[in-house]
Amino acid sequence: MKVLSEKQIRDPYTMKWFRHSVLLLFLLIQGFGCAHGPHSGSSSASSGGPPPYEEVVVASSPDPIPPDSPAVSPESEGGKTDNVSDSPAPLASPEIPSNSDNMNLDYVEEEKAPEKADIADPLEPFNRAMYNFNDKLYFWVLKPVARGYGKVVPEVARIGVRNFFSNIASPIRIVNCVLQAKFVGAVKELGRFAINTVWGIGGLMDLASDNAVNLPKQDADFGQTLGVYGLGQGFYIHWPILGPSSPRDTVGMIGDAFLHPFTYFNETRVLYVWIGIKVVETVNTTSLSIGDYESLKDAAVDPYVAFRDAYVQYRLNKVKTGGGKPAPSGTGGAISPAITEVRPSGSTEDEE
């Protein structure tokens, strides 16, 4: 490198150049450092070094593996059956082949780890029993009923029914938007209600969600409002029939029932009216999503825990984002807002 005289260093332009070259040198060194990660192995430099994530992992792993370690066939490793409950086995032994797909890398918590969606479950035995009850209820009652209903009522009509129920529940969302100080949301929801009630034939059509109007539904409920106020879920409750909930969301559900217009005229029979609404609504909704529950259940190792976690994650996100567009989980912004559409085969793949 060029030797700089004192005068040159004092010169602001030279200083800048100097700093830049130091930075470049630093990056170069870092680049070479990267190439020594276990991932690149003997491959040429053109394939690019491993990303920083791996670098972090390697750096924090207690025993980094040299890239040119003697290879051991995976079969011989797989054949071993070590004692199970042992304390961490010698994982990062140098015998691990460098191309073993990073199997040897330990898990390291990410710095920007997303908030943990956890819930206490002191009622687990009761909850599990209720989950099993609801599971049977679904397969023995709800699904056959929804299927039959779906056979009789065409899909367009069922979507209309769903829109109608959604529209009539608008006051719940308006009030909760106001309670959460989301005044723009409240106005939007009010606009939706007006448009869909008048032009959408009493709410059968959701015209407001169309791209031309672009007033999407503002998901807001009282449980969410309480969450926004800082109230936690408390613990998990799996209600018979009603399913996943918590003390907070149960209070929320009751609050919302009183806001439902169908219950206005008949204050003494709030409960019955509400149950009636829920039954029709549930059958209708289920008829539009038969198979969803089954595939979620099939994908789970422990369905009870899977549904509990899904519920907690879903509700936590509702409170965090206020039911609007899901917040990006990272810090960075959108890079490319390009919208591309992919259309699968038109009316093929009919299973029935």
């Binding site: 690019g48 918590e109 999503s289 099939d298 879903y314 793949e349």
Partner: protein, 197 residues
Amino acid sequence: MKRLLAVFSVFLFLLLSLPVHAGVPMDTVQANVDKVIEVLRDPKLKAESAKETKKERLRHIYDDMFDQVELSRRALAQNWNKLNLAQREEFVNLFRQMLEKTYIDQILAYVDEKVVFDREVQLSGTQTEIQTIVVTSSKKIPVFYRVILKGGGWKVYDVVIENVSMVSNYRTQFNDILAKNTPEQMLEILRKKVKGQ
């Protein structure tokens, strides 16, 4: 000017060895989704008898698209470190079979959906979230793919459906299982699950 820019970007590319470009992660995911649609559209695979071939092709795409080791490591989190290498290998293998099955069944139930690629959100230098919306005849489901840059390619390590992260969901399940069982017992549960499928 353009050439200078090109030379400069190539230089930067070589220098930093970090091929991060806006759009590449989304293109990767989209290419895989396109491949899936191609398999579903293929008139030669329409017949019921071709279902196995179809599944095989989809399995291939799945393996291309997902980073199963990364996914497994994240699903087990701290528990991953308690498994020895043989157990990790078996876990990754069983978990892959399980997810492949789920994924393929889900795709084969695909009727008339449309996938809208909405946007890319950068999570970190090597992690990006591809936000898509699956539009069915009756609803819109937000499906986000989280991809990580590894060995020059972007691989999916998490899928977030309606704001529920699949990896977090499995993490809770495995955590719960490992709080009461040994890793070997957990593997046995998985073996049974895969066999029963």
